[in-house]
Assembly symmetry: C2
Homo-oligomer: 402 residues x 2
Amino acid sequence: MKNTKIICTNCGKAFSVDRVYPRCDLCTEPLEVERVRTGTITDGDILRQTILERYADFFPFSEGERTLSLKEGFTPLIESSKLASELGVKSLHFKNESQNPTWSFKDRGTAAGVNHALSLGYERIGTVSSGNMAVSVAAYGARAKLKTVIFVSAHIPPEKLDPIAIYDPLLIRVDGDYGDLYFQSLAIGKDCGIYFINSDVPFRVEGSKTIAFEICEEMNFEPPDIVIVPTSAGGNLRGIIKGFEEFLSCGLIERVPRFVCAQASGCSPIYEAFLKDNEKVSRFQNPDTIAHAIENPFPPSGNEVLRKIKQNRGIFVALGDDEILRAQKRLAEEGIFAQPAGAVPLAALAKLREDRSIDEESTVACIVTGGGLKYTAAFERHNLETAKCRIEDLADFVGDRL
Amino acid sequence: MKNTKIICTNCGKAFSVDRVYPRCDLCTEPLEVERVRTGTITDGDILRQTILERYADFFPFSEGERTLSLKEGFTPLIESSKLASELGVKSLHFKNESQNPTWSFKDRGTAAGVNHALSLGYERIGTVSSGNMAVSVAAYGARAKLKTVIFVSAHIPPEKLDPIAIYDPLLIRVDGDYGDLYFQSLAIGKDCGIYFINSDVPFRVEGSKTIAFEICEEMNFEPPDIVIVPTSAGGNLRGIIKGFEEFLSCGLIERVPRFVCAQASGCSPIYEAFLKDNEKVSRFQNPDTIAHAIENPFPPSGNEVLRKIKQNRGIFVALGDDEILRAQKRLAEEGIFAQPAGAVPLAALAKLREDRSIDEESTVACIVTGGGLKYTAAFERHNLETAKCRIEDLADFVGDRL
């Protein structure tokens, strides 16, 4: 590892870069890898590069320490002039994270985390998750030939278990309080030498930085005015902010966007804390949203997200299921089929244009965090239309409908 | 369009590049765009390039005629030293087409086809398919704001319909012989001005060329000895062969790989024709395989694939469901979760190493044509394991299993 530190986001205490325990010993807030202030993009062709190679200056890995990859990242930024015009903004771009190896943004942070684990000599990794993160850690653990332990709730349905189990991890359905499971994982990790790559580990945040880096490159180093991020645990938003800030420090861009922390109304602990002007996020009671991938009732990076978005003069917003489903359909009609959580930014933009929180001169990027096939139960909530016809009547039938 | 022709693959008759009808008027065999003999890769960074821009010399589009894209292609080539060593080959690479916009290779050909349609002024496109191709055409049709007509069999289950319907095409379940539907589509297309981008249109083959181009780049212009392609209609294999041959003509590589046409035993009309030494492929009776995505009983490019693979001294092989499922699991344990059809090349390699058709000095590339979430029914066929445990026993439980 390079000579760098891991720093508490709240109190500034510094720790060794070899640290695995993800919270500050003093204030229990999340940690982050020391900010990079000089660096540039590594030349090369991304057909033969990984994100950790292209942005090597922005990671604490030494040469030879970042070899594990399934070629995460380098996802498309798709512009929609139609939706930009309908919503009344200058330009609108979708960062399509569904084109990752396990079809969500999680692969970026998993790649960074697994390489950290490997560089420290770990032979066991794990995570607590029932969704995108579990799938991603199971896939990378398999790829790295590491013993991989996944804790899920005892009650998750087979359609969520199978896409994790196919990679052959030690997959354990745990009967008990899901909130406690996170703390159990840290204790077991320490005892058993398992690096738990949970949502709040600093290296997961590092992986998410590359979303910002790529957006800068894709937009010719003129970042959008607004970046909208579906927010659950908070790590992805933290990473994206950190990415833009590091590129600014390094002189690669001239300004940082305003960020929108977009949650589902059915699970919006950070938004609620903002509304109540609280400095700390409280546990959200009885979470229930179609956007399961962002249904974290007590986000480990919640307080830090509150601090960062306020500093940034950013925006907090929460969206109902109907708004999210409408956005999912609208996005599919642009050719991008997102899981409900991935459509939250478009729903947020529609709402924030309506209440004028975002103005018409804005250039906007929405982070589409995962693919629609990850949550097929949402199909039932759409009124999807098909027609039926006998083959001998087909020509007339089609003619009538054109 | 550039000044080029469309040529019959069998009799050599030449047609205008504006032609939409996909078969030869004389011999009814499939057509292809005239081969490119001089050309090179367009400089640029693929974060800001599309496949049609990077390989512009190899497409008949003029500047401004290839603007429609969801950023298909530029998929990873993942090396597995573990599987190479287990199977006894020099090196083994997986081209992971599940990282396309609709999670299959079809997006490449759809992008080429839609741009052809747009350049000819079409406002309506269509396809006959119930799988990857239907999803892809629906997505690109939505993106292009074209009226998009999809014909599927009346009997397809909702889990196949919904991922097409979400993009909002005119989706018609047609009661009648599915084989006839293809010919109906061509007739209706002509009458109603609909460009049917079916599996055998020359521009779909052109799109598949880019798989070969990327493999060449990813392997530093030293192509693998063997390329294994799951084969159904035959267009993808034809495109990949054509891609390598064009790069050879242009001096970008020094030799063309040997190709393996890999089919499912439950639907192997090309393999059967080869076994019987027939020059023409016959309709396969009662097709039935877990690899639904390659279950075409009467492949429109079958005869041409027979000719090309024989010329190339390539290999024909067919795989049973058990072999395919074993390969699917084995590939997931490398971190790549493919749909069953996408695991067929790995199953083929295992078989062809066993019977010594492929030797141990070979470098091999397998085309993983689509993602595993496209066909979740396959989960039932695996014996996927999970454990269950109370939270208070978790530490001991994990400790015992490490």
